[in-house]
């Protein structure tokens, strides 16, 4: 299967561990992943104002690039990019007038945007087009004994029309982790917001959020937390020290992208995990289970 891949800005700097492990794991599954040519920032957030058409342009130009790439599927791993691309696509599919305004604005493009391209999150692609049974058959290094809390945050599961799974009780990541041989733990705060961009203007909010979310994962016996969003990962990993100032008893709990655990289980070398990018020591739980 030929996959057109949208990495997103942060996967090219802070989250190269997400980028590298995505490509390595997908390649291991026999997928032909090609990064989209001339992609641009998706805008990161979907404007909620009814007349906010200008902020649809950035995601839509990416969809035009994807259409031109002509692959079997168009996929991204970043939860925020996924949401922005998917919701812009849905909005224009449902609003012919807005669609015509957008195409008029983008008149210098060689390709008209028609809304006939599907935006997939990598987790959807794995679940619906590959299947977790198929994936499990490719596992070379089962993550036996590894207790994983799956954190969805907001944008994989909300809003409902752009969700990859149930908004209150998603399970796609737990199913993936089980297919890799890991043990998903109960995690009541798995869809609770991490505070997102408030880390820029009001980092005290993030300390409180991180304390709550990571404290819940730890109290349910998790060795680590997996996620799909570089902003969540920044807040829950890089800012974990701030949370520990609020609560000195908060045990260090490493954060991974789901693709890193996939790459590990599928037999990729340690170098694609880019463990040097992590702030909270990621090695301890993996070493303890004999995975490194």
């Amino acid at each position: 299967m030929r996959i057109s891949y949208f990495p997103g800005c942060t996967l090219k700097n802070h989250a190269v561990n997400f980028d590298d492990s995505t490509i390595a794991a997908c390649t291991r599954l026999g997928l032909e992943v090609k990064e989209l040519d001339r992609w641009n920032c998706c805008g990161t957030v979907h404007g909620l104002a009814a007349d906010d058409l200008i902020h649809r342009m950035a995601p839509i130009t990416n969809l035009i690039r994807a259409k031109e790439a002509g692959a079997d599927a168009f996929m991204t791993g970043c939860a925020m990019c996924y949401s922005t691309l998917k919701r812009a696509n849905l909005h224009l599919r449902q609003n012919p007038e807005a669609l015509s305004v957008v195409n008029g604005f983008l008149s210098l493009e060689q390709t008209d945007y028609r809304g006939d391209l599907d935006v997939l999150h990598l987790l959807e692609l794995l679940r619906d087009r590959i299947g977790f049974e198929q994936l499990a058959a490719r596992v070379e290094r089962p993550l036996s004994g590894l207790r994983v809390a799956c954190y969805y945050g907001c944008l994989l599961v909300r809003p409902r029309e752009a969700a990859i799974d149930d908004s209150e009780q998603p399970r796609v990541m737990e199913d993936l982790m089980a297919a890799l041989g890991a043990t998903p733990v109960a995690f009541p705060l798995k869809t609770e917001c991490c505070g997102a961009y408030q880390v820029v203007a009001d980092p005290g909010i993030i300390a409180e959020r991180t304390r709550r979310i990571m404290g819940s994962a730890a109290s349910h016996g998790a060795d680590l937390v997996v996620m799909s969003c570089p902003l969540c990962a920044y807040n829950l990993d890089d800012r974990q020290a701030d949370a520990r100032r609020l609560d000195p008893d908060l045990a260090p709990l490493p954060v991974f992208y789901f693709t890193q655990l996939m790459a590990l289980a599928l037999g990729c070398g340690e170098e694609v995990l880019r463990l040097e990018r992590h702030r909270t020591d990621p090695r301890a739980p993996l070493t303890a289970r004999g995975l490194l």
């Binding site: 957030v45 007349d51 997102a196 902003l231 920044y234």
Partner: protein
């Protein structure tokens, strides 16, 4: 102590209601104040006005109170409220509409000045954080 509020006759208040309804695409009076949005809001600890109170003030056209509140900037559009509202009101869209009312004036009343951030902190923040913060907090 009770505070009497007149809802309809004042044109300025109705103007705010119309603006918020147009920007949000929501009918404010659909909300019957059950409080489900506030009960599940992850930012409630950081708001002096809870989401259902924001809707109530918007229904009443109390734009000045809303536009001057801290709560509208604390909301990050996580959309938990939207998913749980029994009346299908998109609370996050209403709060975004109030932010837009503030940001679309010619006062450039931004809630974030990126150039004022310490260089070290600016360098440590990922682009995904900076871009989303600027999109939500600046005009």
């Amino acid at each position: 102590m009770s505070v009497p509020v007149r809802i309809y006759p004042e044109r300025s208040r109705r103007g705010f209601v119309d603006q918020v309804e147009a920007l949000s695409g929501q009918r404010l009076l659909a909300c019957y104040q059950c409080g489900n949005c506030s009960a599940g809001c992850p930012m409630a600890d950081h708001m002096e006005l809870l989401p259902h109170q924001i809707i109530r003030l918007a229904q009443l056209g109390l734009g000045e109170t809303l536009c001057g509140s801290r709560a509208i900037w604390a909301c990050v559009s996580c959309l938990t409220c939207n998913g749980r509202c029994p009346k299908g009101v998109r609370i996050a869209e209403v709060i975004e509409a109030v932010r837009e009312v503030v940001l679309r004036t010619n006062r450039r009343d931004d809630r974030l000045e990126v150039s004022a951030l310490p260089a070290e902190r600016l360098a440590s923040l990922p682009p995904i954080a900076l871009i989303s913060a600027m999109r939500k907090l600046t005009s």
